[in-house]
Symmetry: C2
Subunit: 252 residues, 2 copies
């Protein structure tokens, strides 16, 4: 009996990433070194944090002059006003603010806490990372770099950790996509009994990002995972189809 299998392989051994580093090379080398070289059809999931580091998306808080609004928010919630200022600057809109949490719409259109600004996993003090400016371009660069260095065609997802309404805890989602379409459209397809399927569009890129998280331990260095065996059609890919049209968004 035929059965589908997907493997999720954590890539360990990447060194600390610095601005200017060639992520594609580091990924190809580390996968090779641990005995799991990349192959055609792999989906390589890369955490946003190392992409932001490689791209120099870092801000020294000492260079930030907080606005009065940032100071007020920081005062209410015991936060660093310079970090709040950075969050505001990375936002196109505030969706909700309460309980010391700021749910932002980033310039890309992502809805997430604190516009993805984060101080963890960065050496030294007083530095925060920002989301990549163009995560699709980041994914494409890595994908192209892998093709050039390893001669294989893969898909690449940039993943980040987002909270969500109504459900506790965070999950990993795709914020950059290259090489596959992030959604699988079942519309028009029938179930086993010939009826049209209820679930019409599946956000497989988010499920792949979440699956990759199962091998990424946030306290140690596994910032990349290979998802192998999931069949997909090659496509340019982008995170944009994952963003709901404002007119269709009931929770704007």
């Amino acid at each position: 009996m035929d059965y589908p299998v997907v493997h999720i392989i954590g890539v360990a051994g990447l060194p600390e990433v610095h601005p200017g580093d060639d992520l594609a090379s580091l990924i190809v080398q580390s996968a090779q070194s641990q005995g799991t070289p990349l192959v055609n059809g792999d989906i390589v999931v890369v955490t946003q944090k190392i992409v932001s580091k490689a791209e120099g998306r870092l801000v020294a808080l000492s260079t930030v002059e907080p606005s009065p609004f940032a100071r007020e928010i920081a005062r209410q919630w015991g936060k660093d006003p310079r970090q709040v200022e950075v969050v505001l600057r990375e936002s196109r809109r505030i969706v909700r603010m309460d309980h010391g949490v700021i749910i932002c719409e980033t310039r890309h259109g992502f809805i997430c806490a604190n516009a993805g600004v984060d101080a963890s996993n960065i050496p030294g003090e007083g530095i925060v990372s920002l989301l990549p400016e163009d995560p699709d371009a980041s994914a494409q660069r890595i994908r192209q770099g892998i093709r050039e260095r390893a001669g294989v065609t893969v898909a690449v997802l940039i993943s980040d950790t987002f909270g969500r309404p109504w459900r506790e805890g965070t999950t990993n989602v795709a914020i950059g996509v290259a090489g596959l379409h992030p959604l699988v459209d079942y519309r028009g397809q029938k179930d086993t009994y010939g009826k049209e399927l209820r679930v019409s569009i599946a956000a497989v890129a988010d499920e792949i990002a979440g699956a990759a998280d199962l091998v990424m331990n946030k306290t140690t260095r596994v910032p990349v995972a290979i998802v192998r065996g999931y069949p997909y059609e090659a496509a340019p890919g982008s995170y944009r189809p994952l963003l709901r049209e404002p007119a269709q968004d009931m929770f704007r």
Copy 2:
């Protein structure tokens, strides 16, 4: 170099499920028959649909008298008023209604479209399935049955397909949990540089459910997946920690 690996194995070959069927037996037998018998530590992800079928959570629409409100909703959006009536009966609260979509809070506390009522993948006409009455109990029964029939200790998740605000497409999440805690709490843990982690609580049960979806093809019969190699501590488990406290929910 040590690296983490997780395997997702689709269990094919289950027969059509009918009310009264012993799911644990079907799962153990099918896993065995395809050469991937269950082993200690596996996480078995079972789609809600076959649990609802086995538990007889089916309603014949011919037996439903729609309320005036159900008729009005159905009229506006071209829906079957009897099916709308069933959705209302399965709901504790309506969170939002627009664009022909009803976002409900189910009696369990899940927030999802149409209270999980669904007509697909059911033989015959005019029958809809409801969510299991107590999905944790459903998961526990399957877990216990697997222990009795195969002599192995596994965790069991009941998964369902939910949409979400702001992002297109659906993902699979855990609606019933037995044998592991659905959240991993990183609070108090430090990153590689000794700083407290930003992501404090990860909804791993939802990521596992999403990972399992990668081998479940909605148009064919793979309603169960084994997630193997993910390390977890045995715990009673429940879906309840996954539900955000109303007082903390900014999107209520």
